[in-house]
């Protein structure tokens, strides 16, 4: 007869599970830290971040300094130097925020599903470690990396205070927002990692959810206020209920809307610093909010991991129909044992030629049809909120979706395209494939085309959104053509580089991180650095403006923004006469079309060159004999 442990000892056992030493810093944490410590890439990444920080810092400092050099008076110059500190702090805070927000999902996206792919998860799940301990330890080891990166900018943030003009609480607010957003990204990444089959999928979903939190929540708040303030309470409810109408505070305070998005909260901190205003408590609310989401994500991740544990112990995942069938058979007494191969079957299709391409173009972005439906419903809900809360002629209705969407297109391209070859390595199917007669060209081209095909969802949603705007006669139809061209360039570019990195590196998460880093460098870091450098070297001349903007216009995000602005701005008046803002003046629609085509062609050619390089280096990177 088994004896139940007394309540007190069970409570002690539960509390022991929550001991921070075992919860966060247990054997998994130590193992992950040891592995990270052996990786050269980790040190290269940190050095790169420090270099970016140093470049931004030097350029910002020199920019402000050279501007004040022109002031003849020494006292005026010293006084003006007080303005240096806020500019440096704002620059560093934003660099830190962007770096940590991007790194967190990349680091945690593969944390659990990589263990599953390496078939080490069942062994881990048979140890006395609880799912919560596994999730927390994995999160802690990744957060340690992020904290080290955050600490790199701390000396700058604190040291710059000698110039004056920056309050300590501004730095604390900025650092807290960066770290809490990183924790939120890392926790969401862990949750999706416990659910997704691939690390890159988990990372991509995390980025989408982060984008929703940062841009979607403030929009939702605005929409709520718009609907309940202007339509329902005053007019409708009072008419119907008279004195019985409740006097509810149906308006979400502005501070709550601002605090719901860390990016808006950081913007408020930066704006306050720029204007010399005291820091409001919005950052504190936003930090707490991010930590609450993190806590929830961690709990959900451990629940998901528990499910993984059950499935790894042999319980097959059944569809509803299979469950019903099984229940009927059990009721009638005809059910015997469950044969997973009978439960998981479907009518075989005829495989087309070439087979690798046939399979690649059938790889879905969504792991299941349910996920596709949920995503479509979520998009429809967001669209509904936007169209209800904003007037159709407001430029925000086109700018926010296109800017956020284009960033997501880039993130998606960087992450999805690099998993082709490395995923084959991780599932150990590459060796078998390489012993067949599939040529390097066939393999690389199929992987690249498959990757392009998988990136259909976000561009389609954006084009559908813009189609509605066009049908509402708020934008010229040419915007659809321009956006399509703007998306093609980076998609082909990132697919090419992704295939190359995927072939070069064993782990898909490494390949994805490099592809993402490359995209960031090309479209964000290098343009900004070149602009600042030109500004300094050419000392604010027209030439520096020209070159600077020329570099800036290579970014698909800028191109997307200019495309929608040009076609949308006062559409009614400029139906036959509208222009696009360009480097030194405006461009006519034909000129802008030519520019976007040229830009997309160059980007596509670079992508194809990387794919070609992958074909040329195929034998070297796979080891296969020609």
């Amino acid at each position: 007869m088994s004896e139940r442990a007394p309540e007190s000892s069970r409570a002690v056992a539960f509390l022991r599970h929550l001991d921070p030493a075992t919860l966060f810093f247990g054997p998994i944490f130590q193992k992950d830290m040891r592995i990270a410590g052996r990786k050269l890439g980790v040190y290269i990444g940190r050095s790169l971040y420090a270099l970016i920080l140093a470049v931004v810092l030097a350029l910002t400092f020199y920019g402000v300094w050279s501007e004040h050099l022109q002031t003849q008076s020494n006292s005026a110059r010293i006084q003006a130097m007080q303005g240096v500190a806020p500019v440096i702090v704002v620059s560093v805070l934003w660099v830190q925020f962007v770096a940590l927000t991007l790194l967190a999902p990349v680091l945690t996206g593969g944390a659990i599903c990589e263990e599953r792919r390496a078939q080490t998860l069942p062994a881990l799940l048979t140890t006395p470690l609880s799912p919560l301990q596994i999730v927390c330890s994995k999160g802690a080891s990744r957060l340690a990396q992020l904290v080290i990166i955050a600490l790199l900018s701390l000396p700058v943030l604190l040291g710059v205070r000698v110039f004056g003009g920056v309050r300590a609480e501004t730095i604390i607010a900025g650092a807290a927002l960066s770290l809490s957003t990183a924790i939120m990204g890392a926790s969401l990444g862990l949750w999706f990692s416990a659910r997704a089959a691939r690390g890159t999928t988990a990372t991509l979903i995390t980025f989408c959810v982060l984008a929703l939190i940062m841009a979607g929540l403030p929009l939702l708040g605005l929409a709520f206020n718009f609907m309940f303030q202007e339509h329902f309470p005053g007019a409708y409810l009072s008419d119907v209920l008279g004195d019985w109408a409740p006097n509810w505070p149906l308006e979400i305070p502005e501070s709550v809307i601002e605090g719901s998005s860390p990016v808006v909260a950081l913007f408020m901190v930066s704006a306050g610093l720029d204007r010399g205003m005291p820091v409001t408590n919005i950052w504190l609310g936003s930090t707490i909010w991010a930590l609450v989401i993190s806590l929830l994500s961690i709990v959900l991740a451990s629940v998901s991991l528990r499910g993984v544990m059950r499935r790894s112990l042999g319980a097959p995942r059944l569809t509803r129909r299979q469950k019903r069938k099984l229940r009927r058979e059990r009721a009638s007494g005809t059910a015997t044992t469950i044969d997973p191969s009978q439960l998981r079957s479907r009518r075989s299709r005829t495989v087309g030629d070439p087979s690798v391409l046939w399979r690649e173009i059938r790889q879905s972005l969504f792991p299941s049809r349910t996920m596709l439906v949920v995503s479509v419903l979520a998009v429809l809900a967001i669209e509904g909120v936007m169209f209800l809360s904003l007037d159709t002629d407001e430029s925000g209705l086109v700018f926010i979706p296109v800017i956020v969407g284009t960033i997501l297109v880039l993130l998606q391209g960087a992450l999805l395209s690099s998993s082709g070859f490395s995923a084959e390595r991780e599932t150990r199917t590459l060796d078998v494939l390489l012993t067949s007669r599939v040529s390097p060209f066939q393999l690389v081209a199929s992987k690249m085309l498959g990757s392009i095909r998988r990136q259909w969802f976000i561009p389609t949603v954006l084009l559908a959104h813009m189609l509605v705007i066009v049908l509402l006669k708020e934008s010229h139809p040419i915007v659809l053509l321009h956006l399509a061209i703007v998306f093609i360039g980076p998609i082909v570019f990132l697919s090419g580089t992704g295939v190359f990195f995927g072939l070069r590196f064993r782990k898909s998460i490494t390949a994805s991180a490099l592809n993402l880093g490359g995209a960031l460098a090309i479209w964000l870091v290098i343009p900004v650095a070149i602009m600042l450098a030109l500004e300094l070297v050419l000392n604010n001349s027209d030439l520096s403006d020209t070159f600077g903007y020329a570099v800036f216009f290579t970014s698909p995000v800028i191109q997307g923004g200019v495309s929608v602005e040009g076609a949308h701005d006062e559409f009614a008046e400029k139906l036959r006469d509208f222009d696009y803002h360009f480097i030194n003046g405006d461009l006519r629609p034909v000129g802008w079309t030519v520019f976007t085509i040229a830009s997309a062609t160059v980007q596509s050619l670079i992508g194809l060159a990387f794919a070609w390089l992958a074909i040329l280096r195929f034998e070297k990177h796979t080891g296969r004999t020609p």
Partner: protein, 317 residues
């Protein structure tokens, strides 16, 4: 069919295969034996054109692995020790996929896929998702996959690994059937008794070096010492006194290499004859001379495990 000459493959400081030479004739079943990390899989990967050799040469059907990769891929079927599967395909689609990858004409594919499914007894699982197959079925699917382009040579790395006894027997009969069909098989396995029943020749590799290559009979002949016999004495109250006496008489005979009491079997003496001695009738006389009465007389055969243990030092890299 397979010629490996002075093959060397290094990974950094580690020499995985060191000056290895093997010759395997057409239609042979060659058992490739060695401890974990001995270099078996590396050798097979070189033959499968998945790794380039650092030194030496290897040919399959007269074609060099260093320059005739595509032609060799048409002639070989390689099954790695761990077979990864595409989790989004059914068994039938998986085989069609590789039929296309091996450039089989479209009109032939249906019949070829049906044929290999039947041969590997997977016809009923045609529409099952590959991930849902049991370990035994997965291994059979692996064999079906390597047969899809009708290769002359099969390189099978641990095909029976992780299989239950029934699945192992099925796998063994499947491989024997393939040998009867005229295929040349190079099979690595840890289950030596199965290789002994199946293989016409074996190669034993240790720390990247080939320590033995030849027929199974040759391997048995290399086992230290000659025939072995287990003698069980009739139980008696004086057994404790009789056993040392019998062992003493047996040891004194120059035809006996060693005689010792079997620790696991009370009243039993394990005798090993000198190499080359085949008759063991004289042992009966020696036992009686020592005062013992024979209960049972069991000549012990040499098996592949004995040969393996005798020829290797048990070292791994």
């Amino acid at each position: 069919m397979i010629e490996i000459s002075r093959l060397t493959k290094r990974f950094g400081d580690l020499t995985a295969v060191d000056d290895l030479s093997i010759s395997i004739g057409a239609g042979e079943i060659f058992g490739f034996i060695g401890p974990n990390g001995a270099g078996k899989s590396t050798t097979m990967k070189v033959l499968a054109c998945l790794l380039k050799p650092d030194q030496g040469a290897a040919t399959v059907d007269g074609l060099s692995v260093q320059g005739d990769g595509d032609a060799i891929r048409q002639r070989i079927g390689y099954m790695p020790d761990f077979i990864g599967y595409y989790d989004d395909l059914t068994v039938d689609e998986y085989l069609q996929f590789f039929a296309s990858a091996f450039r089989l004409p479209r009109r032939k594919r249906r019949s070829v896929v049906d044929g290999v499914l039947e041969l590997t007894d997977l016809t009923e699982k045609r529409d099952a998702m590959v991930v849902s197959l049991s370990r035994g079925m997965s291994q059979r699917l692996g064999v079906a996959r390597v047969l899809i382009h009708d290769p002359k040579v099969l390189l099978l790395d641990e095909p029976a690994s992780g299989l239950d006894p029934r699945a192992r027997i099925e796998m063994r009969s499947l491989l024997s059937e393939l040998a009867r069909m005229g295929k040349t098989l190079m099979v690595s396995s840890h289950i030596l008794s199965e290789l002994a029943e199946m293989c016409s020749s074996i190669g034993i590799i240790e720390r990247g070096k080939l320590v033995f290559a030849g027929s199974i009979d040759d391997a048995y002949a290399r086992v230290k010492g000659g025939e072995r016999v287990l003698i069980r004495l009739e139980s008696s109250e004086h057994l404790e006194r009789i056993i040392p006496s019998v062992i003493s008489v047996l040891s004194a005979d120059e035809r006996v290499a060693s005689a010792e009491a079997d620790a696991d079997k009370p009243g039993a003496i394990r005798v090993t004859l000198e190499s080359g001695e085949h008759g063991h009738h004289f042992l009966i006389e020696r036992v009686i001379e020592g005062g013992g009465r024979i209960g049972a007389f069991e000549p012990q055969g040499v098996n592949l495990e004995d040969a393996f243990l005798s020829l290797t030092k048990g070292a791994v890299q």
